[in-house]
Protein backbone atom coordinates (compact mmCIF):
# COMPACT_ATOMS: atom_id res chain seq x y z
CA UNK A 1 0.00 0.00 0.00
CA UNK A 2 1.33 3.42 -0.90
CA UNK A 3 0.77 4.78 2.57
CA UNK A 4 4.10 6.59 2.52
CA UNK A 5 2.90 8.63 -0.44
CA UNK A 6 -0.06 9.80 1.56
CA UNK A 7 2.21 10.85 4.38
CA UNK A 8 4.60 12.68 2.09
CA UNK A 9 1.84 14.58 0.31
CA UNK A 10 1.40 18.25 0.96
CA UNK A 11 -1.21 18.57 3.68
CA UNK A 12 -3.28 21.04 1.72
CA UNK A 13 -3.49 19.08 -1.53
CA UNK A 14 -6.93 19.34 -3.08
CA UNK A 15 -6.51 16.43 -5.44
CA UNK A 16 -4.44 13.30 -4.90
CA UNK A 17 -4.21 10.26 -7.11
CA UNK A 18 -2.45 7.09 -5.90
CA UNK A 19 -1.64 4.49 -8.51
CA UNK A 20 -4.82 5.30 -10.39
CA UNK A 21 -5.56 3.26 -13.47
CA UNK A 22 -8.59 3.39 -15.68
CA UNK A 23 -9.54 0.77 -18.19
CA UNK A 24 -12.70 1.05 -20.27
CA UNK A 25 -12.10 -2.21 -22.09
CA UNK A 26 -10.45 -5.22 -20.52
CA UNK A 27 -6.77 -5.34 -21.42
CA UNK A 28 -6.36 -1.73 -22.53
CA UNK A 29 -5.70 1.21 -20.24
CA UNK A 30 -6.88 4.76 -20.80
CA UNK A 31 -4.81 5.71 -17.75
CA UNK A 32 -2.12 3.61 -16.10
CA UNK A 33 -0.71 3.99 -12.60
CA UNK A 34 -1.04 7.75 -12.22
CA UNK A 35 0.36 9.39 -9.08
CA UNK A 36 -0.38 13.04 -8.80
CA UNK A 37 -1.08 15.86 -6.38
CA UNK A 38 -2.58 19.26 -6.92
CA UNK A 39 -2.07 21.74 -4.11
CA UNK A 40 -4.40 24.49 -3.00
CA UNK A 41 -4.18 27.46 -5.35
CA UNK A 42 -2.16 25.59 -7.90
CA UNK A 43 -2.56 26.31 -11.63
CA UNK A 44 -1.54 23.29 -13.69
CA UNK A 45 -1.83 22.41 -17.34
CA UNK A 46 -2.46 18.88 -18.54
CA UNK A 47 -1.15 18.07 -21.98
CA UNK A 48 -0.51 15.20 -24.34
CA UNK A 49 -1.66 14.01 -27.73
CA UNK A 50 -5.22 13.20 -28.53
CA UNK A 51 -6.27 9.93 -26.88
CA UNK A 52 -3.60 10.25 -24.19
CA UNK A 53 -6.20 10.20 -21.41
CA UNK A 54 -6.61 13.89 -20.51
CA UNK A 55 -10.39 13.85 -20.58
CA UNK A 56 -10.45 10.57 -18.68
CA UNK A 57 -8.26 12.05 -15.93
CA UNK A 58 -10.55 15.07 -15.56
CA UNK A 59 -13.64 12.85 -15.54
CA UNK A 60 -12.13 10.76 -12.77
CA UNK A 61 -11.50 13.85 -10.68
CA UNK A 62 -15.11 15.04 -10.77
CA UNK A 63 -16.51 11.59 -10.28
CA UNK A 64 -17.92 10.97 -13.75
CA UNK A 65 -15.79 7.85 -13.97
CA UNK A 66 -14.50 5.55 -11.29
CA UNK A 67 -10.92 4.34 -11.26
CA UNK A 68 -10.38 0.70 -12.14
CA UNK A 69 -7.50 0.64 -9.67
CA UNK A 70 -5.95 2.96 -7.12
CA UNK A 71 -7.27 5.65 -4.82
CA UNK A 72 -8.50 9.10 -5.61
CA UNK A 73 -8.89 11.87 -3.04
CA UNK A 74 -10.71 15.00 -4.13
CA UNK A 75 -11.40 17.92 -1.78
CA UNK A 76 -10.68 15.61 1.14
CA UNK A 77 -12.98 12.81 0.03
CA UNK A 78 -12.00 9.43 -1.25
CA UNK A 79 -14.16 9.16 -4.33
CA UNK A 80 -12.75 5.88 -5.59
CA UNK A 81 -15.76 4.04 -4.34
CA UNK A 82 -18.57 6.52 -3.76
CA UNK A 83 -21.79 5.70 -5.53
CA UNK A 84 -23.45 7.66 -8.29
CA UNK A 85 -25.53 10.00 -6.15
CA UNK A 86 -23.10 10.84 -3.41
CA UNK A 87 -20.78 12.61 -5.84
CA UNK A 88 -23.38 15.37 -6.34
CA UNK A 89 -22.33 17.44 -3.30
CA UNK A 90 -18.71 17.12 -4.38
CA UNK A 91 -19.49 18.27 -7.91
CA UNK A 92 -21.13 21.39 -6.55
CA UNK A 93 -17.72 22.41 -5.22
CA UNK A 94 -15.98 21.74 -8.52
CA UNK A 95 -16.36 23.87 -11.63
CA UNK A 96 -16.04 21.97 -14.87
CA UNK A 97 -15.62 23.42 -18.37
CA UNK A 98 -16.49 20.57 -20.71
CA UNK A 99 -14.80 20.09 -24.03
CA UNK A 100 -18.21 20.15 -25.72
CA UNK A 101 -19.48 22.85 -23.30
CA UNK A 102 -22.59 20.87 -22.34
CA UNK A 103 -24.82 23.93 -22.41
CA UNK A 104 -28.59 23.57 -22.04
CA UNK A 105 -29.91 24.43 -25.51
CA UNK A 106 -33.48 25.18 -24.44
CA UNK A 107 -32.44 27.55 -21.68
CA UNK A 108 -31.27 31.12 -22.02
CA UNK A 109 -27.71 32.25 -21.36
CA UNK A 110 -28.82 33.56 -17.98
CA UNK A 111 -30.54 30.27 -17.06
CA UNK A 112 -27.52 28.27 -18.18
CA UNK A 113 -25.39 30.07 -15.64
CA UNK A 114 -28.18 30.13 -13.06
CA UNK A 115 -28.59 26.36 -13.04
CA UNK A 116 -25.23 25.99 -11.30
CA UNK A 117 -26.68 28.08 -8.46
CA UNK A 118 -30.08 26.33 -8.64
CA UNK A 119 -28.47 23.00 -7.81
CA UNK A 120 -27.02 24.67 -4.70
CA UNK A 121 -30.39 26.12 -3.69
CA UNK A 122 -29.27 29.77 -3.92
CA UNK A 123 -32.28 32.10 -3.48
CA UNK A 124 -33.62 33.76 -6.63
CA UNK A 125 -32.58 37.31 -5.77
CA UNK A 126 -29.00 36.40 -4.89
CA UNK A 127 -28.87 34.15 -7.91
CA UNK A 128 -29.82 36.93 -10.30
CA UNK A 129 -27.18 39.23 -8.89
CA UNK A 130 -24.43 36.63 -9.04
CA UNK A 131 -25.37 35.49 -12.54
CA UNK A 132 -25.39 39.05 -13.79
CA UNK A 133 -22.01 39.81 -12.24
CA UNK A 134 -20.59 36.64 -13.77
CA UNK A 135 -21.99 37.37 -17.23
CA UNK A 136 -20.51 40.82 -17.02
CA UNK A 137 -17.14 39.36 -16.16
CA UNK A 138 -17.16 37.19 -19.30
CA UNK A 139 -18.70 39.94 -21.43
CA UNK A 140 -22.03 38.22 -22.09
CA UNK A 141 -24.37 40.48 -20.13
CA UNK A 142 -25.92 41.82 -23.32
CA UNK A 143 -26.61 38.29 -24.53
CA UNK A 144 -28.25 37.01 -21.38
CA UNK A 145 -31.68 36.42 -22.97
CA UNK A 146 -30.24 34.54 -25.95
CA UNK A 147 -30.09 30.80 -26.35
CA UNK A 148 -26.71 29.07 -26.52
CA UNK A 149 -27.12 27.92 -30.10
CA UNK A 150 -27.41 31.51 -31.28
CA UNK A 151 -24.00 32.30 -29.76
CA UNK A 152 -20.66 32.13 -31.52
CA UNK A 153 -18.12 29.46 -30.54
CA UNK A 154 -16.15 31.92 -28.43
CA UNK A 155 -19.29 33.12 -26.70
CA UNK A 156 -20.37 29.56 -25.95
CA UNK A 157 -16.96 28.91 -24.49
CA UNK A 158 -17.22 31.97 -22.26
CA UNK A 159 -20.70 30.90 -21.22
CA UNK A 160 -19.38 27.46 -20.26
CA UNK A 161 -16.69 29.14 -18.16
CA UNK A 162 -19.21 31.48 -16.56
CA UNK A 163 -21.30 28.50 -15.46
CA UNK A 164 -18.25 26.71 -14.08
CA UNK A 165 -17.12 29.75 -12.08
CA UNK A 166 -20.39 31.23 -10.84
CA UNK A 167 -20.55 29.14 -7.68
CA UNK A 168 -16.92 30.02 -6.83
CA UNK A 169 -15.64 26.45 -6.87
CA UNK A 170 -12.56 25.41 -4.97
CA UNK A 171 -11.40 23.45 -7.96
CA UNK A 172 -11.75 24.31 -11.64
CA UNK A 173 -11.30 21.66 -14.32
CA UNK A 174 -11.27 22.78 -17.95
CA UNK A 175 -11.08 20.37 -20.88
CA UNK A 176 -9.48 22.03 -23.90
CA UNK A 177 -11.23 25.32 -23.23
CA UNK A 178 -9.49 26.94 -26.19
CA UNK A 179 -9.93 23.93 -28.44
CA UNK A 180 -11.37 25.49 -31.55
CA UNK A 181 -10.72 29.14 -30.91
CA UNK A 182 -8.37 31.46 -32.77
CA UNK A 183 -5.26 32.58 -30.84
CA UNK A 184 -6.64 35.96 -29.69
CA UNK A 185 -9.76 34.36 -28.33
CA UNK A 186 -7.68 31.62 -26.70
CA UNK A 187 -5.66 34.19 -24.81
CA UNK A 188 -8.84 35.95 -23.74
CA UNK A 189 -10.28 32.70 -22.37
CA UNK A 190 -7.06 31.75 -20.62
CA UNK A 191 -6.86 35.21 -19.03
CA UNK A 192 -10.27 34.60 -17.53
CA UNK A 193 -9.14 31.28 -16.12
CA UNK A 194 -5.81 32.65 -14.90
CA UNK A 195 -7.61 35.49 -13.14
CA UNK A 196 -9.76 32.93 -11.35
CA UNK A 197 -6.68 30.88 -10.46
CA UNK A 198 -5.01 33.91 -8.94
CA UNK A 199 -8.00 34.30 -6.59
CA UNK A 200 -6.78 31.18 -4.77
CA UNK A 201 -8.64 28.34 -6.48
CA UNK A 202 -6.96 25.23 -7.81
CA UNK A 203 -7.09 24.97 -11.59
CA UNK A 204 -6.33 22.12 -13.95
CA UNK A 205 -6.58 22.85 -17.68
CA UNK A 206 -6.21 20.18 -20.35
CA UNK A 207 -4.81 21.59 -23.56
CA UNK A 208 -2.50 20.71 -26.39
CA UNK A 209 -2.00 24.30 -27.41
CA UNK A 210 1.77 24.89 -27.28
CA UNK A 211 1.35 28.63 -27.28
CA UNK A 212 -0.67 28.40 -24.09
CA UNK A 213 1.79 25.97 -22.54
CA UNK A 214 4.61 28.45 -23.04
CA UNK A 215 2.58 31.36 -21.81
CA UNK A 216 0.77 29.86 -18.80
CA UNK A 217 2.75 26.73 -18.07
CA UNK A 218 3.84 27.06 -14.49
CA UNK A 219 3.30 23.37 -13.96
CA UNK A 220 2.73 21.02 -16.90
CA UNK A 221 1.58 17.43 -16.56
CA UNK A 222 2.24 15.45 -19.70
CA UNK A 223 0.27 12.30 -20.52
CA UNK A 224 1.21 9.86 -23.22
CA UNK A 225 -0.82 6.75 -23.94
CA UNK A 226 -2.31 6.87 -20.47
CA UNK A 227 0.93 7.35 -18.57
CA UNK A 228 2.12 10.45 -16.78
CA UNK A 229 5.45 10.97 -18.50
CA UNK A 230 6.34 14.42 -17.29
CA UNK A 231 5.41 16.66 -14.39
CA UNK A 232 7.35 19.88 -14.34
CA UNK A 233 7.76 23.41 -15.50
CA UNK A 234 7.21 23.85 -19.19
CA UNK A 235 9.04 25.96 -21.71
CA UNK A 236 11.33 23.19 -22.82
CA UNK A 237 8.51 21.40 -24.61
CA UNK A 238 8.66 21.83 -28.37
Amino acid sequence: MPRDNVARGASDALVRLFHVSKSYLAGSFALRDINLELGRGEFALLTGPSGAGKTTLLRLIFGAERPSEGQLLVLGRNISRVGGHSVAPLRRRIGVVFQDFKLLPRHTVEQNVGIALDVMGVPAREKRARVFAMLKRVGLEARRAHHPLSLSGGEQQRLAIARALVNRPQLLLADEPTGNLDPDLSIEIMELIAAFASSGATVLVATHDHGLLRRYGRRVLRLEAGELVDDGVSGAQP
Binding site: F62, A64, H85, A88, P89, L90, R91, R92, R93, I94, V96, F98, K102, L103, L104, R106, I115, A116, D118, V119, M120, G121, V122, P123, A124, K127, R163
Partner: protein
Amino acid sequence: MSLPFAQTALRTALSSMRASPVTSLVAVATIGLCLLLIGAFVLLVANMERLLDHFGEEIRVSVYLSEETDIEAQQQLAARARIAPGVLEVELLTREAALERFRQHQPEHATLFEGFGESPLPASLEILLAPEQRNEQGVAILVESLSGLPGIGELGYGHEWVSGYAHVVSLLYGAAVALCCVLLPATFLIVAGTIRLSLYARRDEIEIVRLIGGSRGFVASPLLLEGITCGACGGLLGLVLLYLCYRLLLPAFEGGLSLLIGTAEPVFLGIGAACGLIAAGALLGLLGATIALLQDELRS
Protein backbone atom coordinates in the same frame (compact mmCIF):
# COMPACT_ATOMS: atom_id res chain seq x y z
CA MET B 1 -37.45 21.24 0.16
CA SER B 2 -36.21 24.82 0.12
CA LEU B 3 -38.14 27.54 -1.66
CA PRO B 4 -35.69 28.18 -4.54
CA PHE B 5 -35.47 24.44 -5.03
CA ALA B 6 -39.26 24.13 -5.23
CA GLN B 7 -39.52 27.12 -7.56
CA THR B 8 -36.97 25.64 -9.92
CA ALA B 9 -38.69 22.26 -9.81
CA LEU B 10 -42.10 23.77 -10.55
CA ARG B 11 -40.76 25.91 -13.37
CA THR B 12 -39.03 22.92 -14.93
CA ALA B 13 -42.12 20.72 -14.54
CA LEU B 14 -44.39 23.28 -16.18
CA SER B 15 -42.03 23.96 -19.04
CA SER B 16 -41.66 20.24 -19.60
CA MET B 17 -45.45 19.83 -19.75
CA ARG B 18 -45.68 22.77 -22.12
CA ALA B 19 -43.00 21.24 -24.30
CA SER B 20 -45.02 18.04 -24.79
CA PRO B 21 -48.69 19.04 -24.46
CA VAL B 22 -50.03 15.99 -26.28
CA THR B 23 -48.48 13.39 -23.99
CA SER B 24 -49.45 15.45 -20.95
CA LEU B 25 -53.03 15.66 -22.21
CA VAL B 26 -53.14 11.94 -22.88
CA ALA B 27 -52.03 11.29 -19.32
CA VAL B 28 -54.58 13.75 -17.92
CA ALA B 29 -57.37 12.25 -20.02
CA THR B 30 -56.45 8.69 -19.07
CA ILE B 31 -56.42 9.48 -15.39
CA GLY B 32 -59.64 11.43 -15.84
CA LEU B 33 -61.48 8.52 -17.49
CA CYS B 34 -60.11 6.01 -15.02
CA LEU B 35 -61.29 8.11 -12.11
CA LEU B 36 -64.63 8.76 -13.80
CA LEU B 37 -65.33 5.03 -13.88
CA ILE B 38 -64.12 4.48 -10.35
CA GLY B 39 -66.00 7.57 -9.18
CA ALA B 40 -69.22 6.32 -10.80
CA PHE B 41 -68.95 3.06 -8.88
CA VAL B 42 -68.18 4.87 -5.66
CA LEU B 43 -71.20 7.07 -6.23
CA LEU B 44 -73.51 4.12 -6.90
CA VAL B 45 -72.27 2.06 -3.98
CA ALA B 46 -72.44 5.06 -1.65
CA ASN B 47 -76.04 5.72 -2.64
CA MET B 48 -76.98 2.08 -2.23
CA GLU B 49 -75.31 1.86 1.15
CA ARG B 50 -77.10 4.95 2.25
CA LEU B 51 -80.35 3.27 1.34
CA LEU B 52 -79.32 0.15 3.17
CA ASP B 53 -78.75 2.12 6.35
CA HIS B 54 -82.10 3.75 5.85
CA PHE B 55 -83.79 0.34 5.52
CA GLY B 56 -82.03 -0.85 8.61
CA GLU B 57 -83.76 1.75 10.70
CA GLU B 58 -87.10 0.77 9.30
CA ILE B 59 -86.75 -2.90 9.98
CA ARG B 60 -88.81 -4.03 12.91
CA VAL B 61 -89.13 -7.63 13.81
CA SER B 62 -92.75 -8.24 14.69
CA VAL B 63 -93.37 -10.87 17.35
CA TYR B 64 -97.07 -11.72 17.36
CA LEU B 65 -98.61 -12.56 20.68
CA SER B 66 -101.28 -15.19 21.05
CA GLU B 67 -104.91 -14.30 21.66
CA GLU B 68 -105.00 -15.49 25.26
CA THR B 69 -102.39 -13.06 26.61
CA ASP B 70 -103.79 -10.27 28.64
CA ILE B 71 -102.26 -6.84 28.85
CA GLU B 72 -100.25 -7.68 31.92
CA ALA B 73 -98.73 -10.73 30.28
CA GLN B 74 -98.01 -8.68 27.18
CA GLN B 75 -96.14 -6.09 29.22
CA GLN B 76 -94.13 -8.82 30.89
CA LEU B 77 -93.21 -10.29 27.52
CA ALA B 78 -92.18 -6.83 26.29
CA ALA B 79 -89.96 -6.44 29.36
CA ARG B 80 -88.53 -9.88 28.70
CA ALA B 81 -87.84 -8.96 25.03
CA ARG B 82 -86.05 -5.74 26.04
CA ILE B 83 -83.33 -7.72 27.77
CA ALA B 84 -82.96 -10.22 24.90
CA PRO B 85 -79.52 -10.07 23.19
CA GLY B 86 -79.14 -7.52 20.38
CA VAL B 87 -82.39 -5.74 21.07
CA LEU B 88 -82.39 -1.96 20.90
CA GLU B 89 -86.03 -1.05 21.33
CA VAL B 90 -89.27 -2.87 22.01
CA GLU B 91 -92.65 -1.38 21.39
CA LEU B 92 -95.75 -3.15 22.57
CA LEU B 93 -98.54 -2.88 20.04
CA THR B 94 -101.81 -3.88 21.65
CA ARG B 95 -104.65 -5.18 19.53
CA GLU B 96 -106.39 -1.80 19.62
CA ALA B 97 -103.20 0.02 18.71
CA ALA B 98 -102.63 -2.42 15.84
CA LEU B 99 -106.05 -1.65 14.46
CA GLU B 100 -105.52 2.08 14.88
CA ARG B 101 -102.20 1.85 13.06
CA PHE B 102 -103.74 -0.21 10.29
CA ARG B 103 -106.41 2.42 9.76
CA GLN B 104 -103.81 5.17 9.69
CA HIS B 105 -101.51 3.42 7.28
CA GLN B 106 -104.14 2.06 4.97
CA PRO B 107 -106.98 4.60 5.03
CA GLU B 108 -108.40 3.12 1.81
CA HIS B 109 -109.09 -0.10 3.68
CA ALA B 110 -110.07 1.65 6.87
CA THR B 111 -113.60 0.33 6.74
CA LEU B 112 -112.48 -3.26 6.34
CA PHE B 113 -112.68 -4.16 10.01
CA GLU B 114 -115.66 -2.01 10.82
CA GLY B 115 -118.32 -3.77 12.76
CA PHE B 116 -115.97 -5.95 14.73
CA GLY B 117 -116.59 -5.23 18.35
CA GLU B 118 -113.03 -5.98 19.20
CA SER B 119 -109.87 -5.62 17.12
CA PRO B 120 -109.35 -8.69 14.98
CA LEU B 121 -105.61 -8.03 14.80
CA PRO B 122 -103.17 -9.74 17.17
CA ALA B 123 -101.09 -7.80 19.64
CA SER B 124 -97.38 -7.74 18.81
CA LEU B 125 -93.99 -6.67 20.03
CA GLU B 126 -92.28 -4.43 17.48
CA ILE B 127 -88.58 -5.04 18.03
CA LEU B 128 -85.74 -2.89 16.67
CA LEU B 129 -82.46 -4.71 16.64
CA ALA B 130 -79.08 -3.08 17.22
CA PRO B 131 -77.48 -2.12 13.84
CA GLU B 132 -74.91 -4.93 13.93
CA GLN B 133 -77.68 -7.46 14.63
CA ARG B 134 -79.81 -6.52 11.65
CA ASN B 135 -79.12 -9.71 9.77
CA GLU B 136 -80.31 -13.29 9.66
CA GLN B 137 -78.07 -14.29 12.51
CA GLY B 138 -79.37 -11.49 14.72
CA VAL B 139 -82.90 -12.52 14.02
CA ALA B 140 -82.07 -16.15 14.71
CA ILE B 141 -80.64 -15.21 18.09
CA LEU B 142 -83.79 -13.27 18.89
CA VAL B 143 -86.02 -16.15 17.88
CA GLU B 144 -83.98 -18.49 20.00
CA SER B 145 -84.29 -16.37 23.10
CA LEU B 146 -88.02 -15.69 22.76
CA SER B 147 -89.44 -18.90 21.36
CA GLY B 148 -91.00 -21.20 23.85
CA LEU B 149 -92.11 -18.42 26.15
CA PRO B 150 -95.83 -18.73 26.78
CA GLY B 151 -97.83 -16.29 24.67
CA ILE B 152 -95.27 -15.94 21.88
CA GLY B 153 -96.78 -16.59 18.45
CA GLU B 154 -95.06 -16.33 15.12
CA LEU B 155 -92.32 -13.93 14.02
CA GLY B 156 -92.49 -11.83 10.90
CA TYR B 157 -89.94 -9.56 9.32
CA GLY B 158 -89.06 -8.08 5.95
CA HIS B 159 -85.57 -9.36 6.28
CA GLU B 160 -85.10 -11.46 3.18
CA TRP B 161 -85.50 -8.69 0.70
CA VAL B 162 -83.03 -6.52 2.59
CA SER B 163 -80.40 -9.18 2.81
CA GLY B 164 -80.75 -9.72 -0.95
CA TYR B 165 -80.22 -6.04 -1.45
CA ALA B 166 -77.20 -6.03 0.83
CA HIS B 167 -75.87 -8.85 -1.29
CA VAL B 168 -76.22 -6.74 -4.45
CA VAL B 169 -74.42 -3.89 -2.75
CA SER B 170 -71.53 -6.12 -1.79
CA LEU B 171 -71.40 -7.55 -5.32
CA LEU B 172 -71.17 -4.04 -6.74
CA TYR B 173 -68.55 -3.24 -4.18
CA GLY B 174 -66.57 -6.27 -5.34
CA ALA B 175 -67.02 -5.18 -8.96
CA ALA B 176 -65.66 -1.74 -8.07
CA VAL B 177 -62.62 -3.31 -6.43
CA ALA B 178 -62.08 -5.55 -9.47
CA LEU B 179 -62.40 -2.53 -11.73
CA CYS B 180 -59.76 -0.71 -9.69
CA CYS B 181 -57.47 -3.72 -9.96
CA VAL B 182 -57.68 -3.53 -13.75
CA LEU B 183 -57.78 0.22 -14.24
CA LEU B 184 -55.21 1.40 -11.73
CA PRO B 185 -52.22 -0.57 -13.06
CA ALA B 186 -53.11 0.43 -16.62
CA THR B 187 -53.28 4.05 -15.56
CA PHE B 188 -49.98 3.80 -13.67
CA LEU B 189 -48.33 2.51 -16.78
CA ILE B 190 -49.69 5.30 -18.94
CA VAL B 191 -48.55 7.94 -16.47
CA ALA B 192 -45.19 6.22 -16.17
CA GLY B 193 -44.97 6.27 -19.97
CA THR B 194 -45.67 9.99 -20.04
CA ILE B 195 -43.00 10.70 -17.47
CA ARG B 196 -40.60 8.41 -19.30
CA LEU B 197 -41.15 10.46 -22.46
CA SER B 198 -40.37 13.64 -20.53
CA LEU B 199 -37.34 11.92 -19.16
CA TYR B 200 -36.16 11.00 -22.64
CA ALA B 201 -36.93 14.44 -23.99
CA ARG B 202 -34.84 15.94 -21.24
CA ARG B 203 -32.22 13.20 -21.05
CA ASP B 204 -29.30 15.36 -22.19
CA GLU B 205 -30.40 18.16 -19.96
CA ILE B 206 -30.72 15.85 -16.95
CA GLU B 207 -27.30 14.39 -17.65
CA ILE B 208 -25.80 17.89 -17.69
CA VAL B 209 -27.57 18.84 -14.49
CA ARG B 210 -26.14 15.72 -12.85
CA LEU B 211 -22.67 16.58 -14.07
CA ILE B 212 -22.78 20.00 -12.48
CA GLY B 213 -23.89 18.56 -9.16
CA GLY B 214 -27.68 18.36 -9.31
CA SER B 215 -28.76 15.98 -6.56
CA ARG B 216 -31.10 13.08 -7.13
CA GLY B 217 -33.94 15.09 -5.64
CA PHE B 218 -33.14 18.09 -7.82
CA VAL B 219 -33.38 15.95 -10.93
CA ALA B 220 -36.37 13.90 -9.79
CA SER B 221 -38.59 16.57 -8.26
CA PRO B 222 -39.69 18.29 -11.49
CA LEU B 223 -40.66 14.89 -12.90
CA LEU B 224 -42.53 13.93 -9.75
CA LEU B 225 -44.26 17.31 -9.77
CA GLU B 226 -45.17 16.77 -13.39
CA GLY B 227 -46.74 13.43 -12.45
CA ILE B 228 -48.62 14.97 -9.53
CA THR B 229 -49.85 17.88 -11.66
CA CYS B 230 -51.04 15.60 -14.48
CA GLY B 231 -52.66 13.35 -11.87
CA ALA B 232 -54.48 16.13 -10.04
CA CYS B 233 -55.69 17.61 -13.34
CA GLY B 234 -56.88 14.14 -14.32
CA GLY B 235 -58.68 13.78 -10.99
CA LEU B 236 -60.38 17.13 -11.50
CA LEU B 237 -61.35 16.13 -15.02
CA GLY B 238 -62.80 12.85 -13.75
CA LEU B 239 -64.77 14.71 -11.09
CA VAL B 240 -66.17 17.21 -13.60
CA LEU B 241 -67.12 14.41 -16.00
CA LEU B 242 -68.75 12.50 -13.17
CA TYR B 243 -70.77 15.53 -12.16
CA LEU B 244 -71.84 16.14 -15.77
CA CYS B 245 -72.91 12.52 -16.09
CA TYR B 246 -74.76 12.77 -12.81
CA ARG B 247 -76.59 15.88 -13.93
CA LEU B 248 -77.20 15.09 -17.58
CA LEU B 249 -77.45 11.31 -17.77
CA LEU B 250 -79.19 10.55 -14.50
CA PRO B 251 -82.66 11.73 -15.58
CA ALA B 252 -82.45 9.40 -18.59
CA PHE B 253 -81.90 6.41 -16.33
CA GLU B 254 -84.46 7.29 -13.71
CA GLY B 255 -86.34 4.01 -14.22
CA GLY B 256 -83.31 1.73 -14.00
CA LEU B 257 -81.91 3.68 -11.13
CA SER B 258 -85.06 3.42 -9.07
CA LEU B 259 -84.67 -0.36 -9.28
CA LEU B 260 -81.31 0.02 -7.59
CA ILE B 261 -81.88 2.73 -5.06
CA GLY B 262 -85.66 2.79 -4.87
CA THR B 263 -87.39 6.09 -4.35
CA ALA B 264 -84.49 7.55 -2.38
CA GLU B 265 -83.16 10.84 -3.71
CA PRO B 266 -79.69 10.20 -5.23
CA VAL B 267 -76.88 12.32 -3.79
CA PHE B 268 -73.58 13.37 -5.40
CA LEU B 269 -70.18 12.80 -3.79
CA GLY B 270 -69.59 14.92 -0.71
CA ILE B 271 -66.77 17.43 -0.56
CA GLY B 272 -64.49 14.91 1.15
CA ALA B 273 -65.01 12.24 -1.49
CA ALA B 274 -64.62 14.83 -4.28
CA CYS B 275 -61.28 15.97 -2.83
CA GLY B 276 -60.43 12.31 -2.39
CA LEU B 277 -60.93 11.72 -6.10
CA ILE B 278 -58.56 14.57 -6.99
CA ALA B 279 -56.07 13.34 -4.40
CA ALA B 280 -56.33 9.85 -5.86
CA GLY B 281 -55.44 11.33 -9.26
CA ALA B 282 -52.44 13.13 -7.79
CA LEU B 283 -51.35 9.93 -6.07
CA LEU B 284 -51.70 7.98 -9.31
CA GLY B 285 -49.54 10.58 -11.04
CA LEU B 286 -46.94 10.52 -8.28
CA LEU B 287 -46.73 6.73 -8.32
CA GLY B 288 -46.53 6.63 -12.11
CA ALA B 289 -43.69 9.15 -12.07
CA THR B 290 -41.92 7.22 -9.32
CA ILE B 291 -42.14 4.02 -11.34
CA ALA B 292 -40.69 5.78 -14.39
CA LEU B 293 -37.82 7.21 -12.35
CA LEU B 294 -37.04 3.90 -10.68
CA GLN B 295 -37.05 2.12 -14.04
CA ASP B 296 -34.72 4.75 -15.38
CA GLU B 297 -32.39 4.44 -12.41
CA LEU B 298 -32.27 0.68 -12.76
CA ARG B 299 -31.36 0.98 -16.40
CA SER B 300 -28.54 3.51 -15.94
